[in-house]
């Protein structure tokens, strides 16, 4: 198993009241798998994904990557894990506005290099980034700033950035959540094409339609995960979905 989270508990303190978000959630992803986690808005999908990506720590439970505990890693190794093993795609793209598309895509490479090593690896980083941008269909936009791009284009850049270090796992947090359905469909197809090439992807979404291409579907409900079954009356889920 490439990634395995076991018995995750996470509670947020809102002033005096405590909001339990994850209660004994367990999930694992195999190499090459396209795993979709479905859940209503506010069910804790983002929280779970952050924990898997070592952006956040669980109150209880463990996350293992390649058999090694991520939760127990010292800070430097966690940074390395985020930089090398994980690629993040966010709902709101989170590109850096001062930098060009190309620079944004190269950023994960820059972060892991010292000034000296950057001098020798710069060319390769640029080539890799350019190749990825070509792959996501933005070869002609490399020198643009993010704000000159449409939402769908920005998300493509974000996907290229997430993949530039050839991470073992791509974590996508509602990557189409901010896009209209046609553009969302395109983004999904892009992810599916990467998945077809063997990229492990864990995607969370509240949109049932996006789950159609998944190898496996899980439902996050009441702080825990279980298999999502088609037969399950979808009205219940849909009703929750429209609620804010």
């Amino acid at each position: 198993m490439l990634l395995r989270a076991r018995n995750i508990f996470k509670t947020y303190a809102m002033g005096r009241t405590e909001v339990p978000v994850l209660r004994n959630a367990s999930v694992s992803a195999e190499k090459g798998e396209f795993l979709v986690i479905l859940g209503a808005s506010g069910s804790g999908k983002s929280t779970l994904l952050h924990i898997l990506g070592a952006l956040d720590t669980p109150d209880r439970g463990t996350v293992e990557f390649d058999g090694e505990s991520v939760t127990l890693l010292p800070a430097a190794r966690r940074n390395h894990y985020r930089n090398q093993k994980i690629g993040f795609v966010f709902q709101f793209y989170h590109l850096l506005p001062e930098f060009t598309v190309l620079e944004n895509v190269m950023m994960p490479r820059m972060i892991s290099q010292s000034v000296i090593s950057w001098i020798t690896t710069r060319r390769k980083a640029r080539r890799d980034a350019q190749a990825l941008l070509e792959r996501v269909g933005l070869a002609d936009r490399v020198l643009h700033r993010p704000k000159e791009l449409s939402g769908g284009e920005r998300q493509r850049v974000a996907i290229a950035r997430a993949l530039v270090n050839r991470p073992a796992i791509l974590l996508a947090d509602e990557p189409t959540g901010n896009l209209d359905s046609k553009i969302g469909e395109e983004i999904l197809r892009l992810l599916v094409s990467f998945s077809d090439e063997g990229q492990t992807i864990v995607m969370v979404t509240h949109d049932l339609q996006l789950a159609s291409h998944a190898h496996r579907r899980l439902l996050l409900e009441d702080g825990a995960l279980r298999e999502y079954r088609e037969s399950r009356p979808s009205t219940h889920f849909a009703a929750k979905e429209v609620a804010p």
Partner: protein, 530 residues
């Protein structure tokens, strides 16, 4: 690597960074200007003071002076020949100087000097005006008035000694413009027997008549007058010399007995000839001092040997004995040696001293030129430290401002910081973005500030002239207040390096708190919303 990339990119994409650079620039420029002007002031002060005195000064500080100085000169030359180069006495007194032609009077400090020795022990000779153009013609002894007239070829000329001296000056002069200027107007004229220049603002003024050039009697002792004492300053460091060379000046003196009380005779009135003016560059001196012949004034002040009631004579007195040293001997070792010599000398002559002599001698001390000037130099030094400190304090405001600017940037960039962390940046790495940024801002500001400050200092007199041309009130540097004619315009490399490096360090320190905040950004929180 990305820190520098970020720092650089933020520097030229964020307008606010320019405010940071501007504030560092201003502070660096400000401190550098203050440091340079005050430091230059101090250095000029030191240099000028050195040229004023001789290296060692033996003086009593009391106006009636001290006796046996000649014996001490002989004693020194005998016992310390390897230390002493020249010795010369000088008398200090006070008087009233009067211009006969205009009946203008001023109080003055009278220095009795032996001119030929005096210019050897210090730099007095360099500040003499007519002596510059007619070398060898400035003398303090009895002399007539040089009169311009018409020579055999019917050309307006000065007496032969002046013409020869001016030829010497021309031969030595390398500045062709100065020669051209001189040739265009060798001198201004004042119709004899009047002594006032026809046109004002002349640089060399001589009385003239229609006979042959010559000296006209009666013979009178010469007086050298401080440049600001009688003449007004014109722009460009020139003076309005309205008085012809050799003009009649009278000096009123009040002789004191050896015990310091008036001698009972009426004040002495001395008829003198204006032979030259002296510009030491220190306003307090140039506005106050006149220089006359030592032996003459010693006699007139009753400081020469006087008959005593018991039939003997008193010893001649002086106020100072100026001593210049052989090249290469240390100032303070010499001071110690001369002090020892003085003490031995006193023991030697002790037996036959009168009570009054013993008292006068007890006031005598040996000083170096630095000792004499120290109170003043110390005061200026303290002032420099104080002013620099004040401006450094103002610079702290700039550091706080810088801190605020960085804080604002961190606040605005919280989401980007979260993104960076999600991409694997460490807290320290993120913090060091802002420290690198501060470093870049600090270095740019310091370089600019050094440039601006240096340009300002190099052109400070021009700037002041320009401001004064708009409004005379804006002339902040007046020679009356600051002793020197010009604002110092030298920037020391060491000062510039110090100020710039401190500014860089300060900028970096100013970024510490915002940088720490940036390092502490919790990525999950930063990324949650758009």
């Amino acid at each position: 690597m990305y820190k520098w990339f970020f720092a650089w990119r933020y520097l030229h994409t964020k307008l606010i960074a320019l405010f940071g650079v501007a504030s560092v620039t201003l502070c660096v420029a400000m401190v550098l200007v203050v440091l340079s002007v005050m430091g230059g002031f101090l250095d000029t002060l030191r240099e000028r003071s050195r040229g004023l005195h001789s290296e060692i000064v033996v003086e009593s500080g009391s106006i009636q002076g001290f006796p046996y100085y000649q014996q001490f000169e002989a004693y020194l030359n005998k016992h310390l020949p390897n230390v002493i180069k020249t010795t010369t006495p000088a008398i200090y007194s006070y008087g009233i100087v009067r211009v006969r032609a205009t009946a203008y009077t001023r109080p003055c400090r009278v220095l009795g000097i032996r001119l030929s020795d005096y210019i050897q022990v210090n730099e007095f000779g360099n500040g003499l005006h007519y002596e510059g153009f007619y070398p060898g013609t400035t003398k303090l002894g009895a002399q007539g008035m040089p009169l311009a007239g018409f020579n055999e070829t019917n050309r307006l000329a000065l007496p032969p000694d002046h013409e020869q001296a001016s030829a010497v000056w021309r031969k030595k002069q390398s500045d062709l413009a100065a020669i051209d200027e001189y040739d265009a107007r060798p001198f201004e004229t004042a119709p004899f027997p009047k002594e006032l220049a026809v046109t004002s603002g002349g640089s060399r003024v001589f009385s003239m008549h229609f006979e042959s050039p010559r000296y006209e009697g009666p013979e009178r002792y010469g007086v050298i007058i401080g440049s600001d004492l009688l003449f007004d300053r014109l722009s460009g460091g020139r003076f309005d010399r309205y008085l012809a060379r050799g003009a009649n000046i009278s000096l009123t003196l009040m002789p004191l007995s050896q015990t310091g009380s008036p001698t009972g005779e009426p004040p002495v009135k001395l008829p003198l000839r204006y032979v030259d003016d002296s510009h030491t560059g220190i306003f307090e001196i140039d506005d106050l001092c006149i220089y006359v012949d030592f032996d003459m004034v010693q006699h007139k002040l009753g400081m020469d040997p006087q008959p005593r009631v018991d039939g003997g004579t008193t010893a001649a007195r002086t106020n100072q004995l100026l001593i210049s040293l052989q090249p290469g001997v240390g100032l303070y070792e010499s001071k110690a040696g001369i002090t020892d010599a003085w003490n031995e000398f006193i023991l030697e002559i002790d037996r036959n001293l009168s009570a009054a002599d013993a008292q006068s001698l007890s006031f005598v001390k040996v000083h170096t030129w630095e000792d004499l000037q120290r109170p003043f130099i110390n005061a200026v030094e303290k002032e420099k430290v104080l002013v620099t400190f004040l401006f450094a304090l103002i610079s702290i405001v700039a550091i706080v401002l810088l801190g605020c600017i960085f804080y604002m940037i961190v606040e605005k960039k919280t989401r980007d910081i979260g993104t960076l962390k999600a991409l694997g940046a460490s807290s320290g790495g993120v913090a060091s973005i802002f420290i690198s940024y501060a470093l870049v801002v600090g270095i740019s500001g310091s370089v600019l500030g050094t440039l601006v400050g240096s340009l300002f200092v190099w052109n400070i007199n021009g700037i002041q002239d320009f401001l004064a041309s708009l409004n005379p009130q804006l002339r902040v540097w007046s020679p009356e207040v600051y002793s020197f004619d010009k604002i110092p315009e030298v920037v020391k490399t060491a000062d510039a390096i110090w100020v710039a490096s401190i500014a860089v360090v300060a900028s970096v320190i100013g970024s510490f708190i915002p940088a720490a905040l940036a390092g502490r950004v919790w990525p999950v929180q930063a990324l949650r919303y758009e």
